[in-house]
């Protein structure tokens, strides 16, 4: 949003509003992916069916025993069922012994 200063010249105000909430810290990271279980979360668009297998292949080659849980175990994270899928997600992740999450596709 611009504030007009004089004909032909404009002043731009900072676009962010007042900060009203404290930010949370991310979860503690892993020391290693070897032997870990990684959940793949997907919105079922933008070529995830090709991208996740590529990541599995390369990460699997670097870290022994890493296991991947495919997106269909969790449902579509960005669709008409998003609310339900995300509400159930913490329980599913715990139940399946998930150590880390790869989520896509933001495109």
């Amino acid at each position: 949003m611009a504030r007009k200063q004089s004909p032909g010249r404009y002043q731009v105000v900072w676009p962010r509003g007042k900060k009203i909430a404290d930010c949370a810290e991310p979860a503690r990271r892993l020391e290693d992916l070897s032997g870990k279980t990684v959940a793949e979360l997907w919105d079922f668009v933008f070529r995830g069916e090709e991208i996740f297998p590529l990541i599995e292949s390369e990460v699997g080659a670097r870290f022994a025993g890493v296991k991947f849980l495919r997106p269909d175990r969790f449902g579509n994270t960005h669709g008409s069922e998003e609310r339900e899928v995300l509400a159930e997600l913490p329980g599913k992740l715990r139940e399946l012994g998930v150590d880390a999450v790869i989520s896509g596709m933001g495109c």
């Binding site: 731009v12 810290e25 990460v59 989520s103």
Partner: protein
């Protein structure tokens, strides 16, 4: 990013796959979800515009390393948002063209912006807030 935020709140580290053009938006979205840091792994270009070989090369050469890094490396210190300008601070002054360049270079816009004066732009917003019982 919403799914990643749910995982992080459950104590499980995440990394989000984003096309390069959305990396900045991902940071803003993370802040809106209550995190200053949610790791992303960038996919160069846009995946829908690439052949399989191009996609494969980009994922293996660029993205996978960021996936691993995002799950293993502790995020750095949170950015000091207190150091940001205030909501009404003037951060730039210039001509119509200058303003457009300023917006475009920061990815605040993907095209032409027609500057409006602050007061007329605020009036409708204040009306909405008042009608919803919220203080403008």
């Amino acid at each position: 990013m919403r799914a990643a935020a749910v995982a992080e709140r459950a104590g499980i580290p995440s990394v989000s796959l984003v096309c390069a053009g959305f990396a900045g938006q991902a940071l803003s979205t993370a802040a809106g979800l209550g995190f200053t840091h949610l790791p992303v792994a960038v996919m160069p270009g846009h995946v829908n515009m690439q052949t399989y070989e191009e996609l494969k090369n980009n994922i293996l050469e660029v993205t996978v390393g960021q996936v691993v890094k995002g799950l293993i490396d502790e995020p750095g210190a949170s950015p000091d948002t207190a150091a940001e300008p205030g909501p009404r601070d003037i951060v730039f002054t210039g001509t119509f063209e200058d303003v457009n360049d300023f917006y475009y270079e920061r990815e605040w816009s993907d095209g032409s912006v027609t500057p409006r004066q602050l007061r007329p732009a605020q009036a409708p917003l204040q009306g909405i807030l008042t009608s919803q019982g919220l203080r403008p």
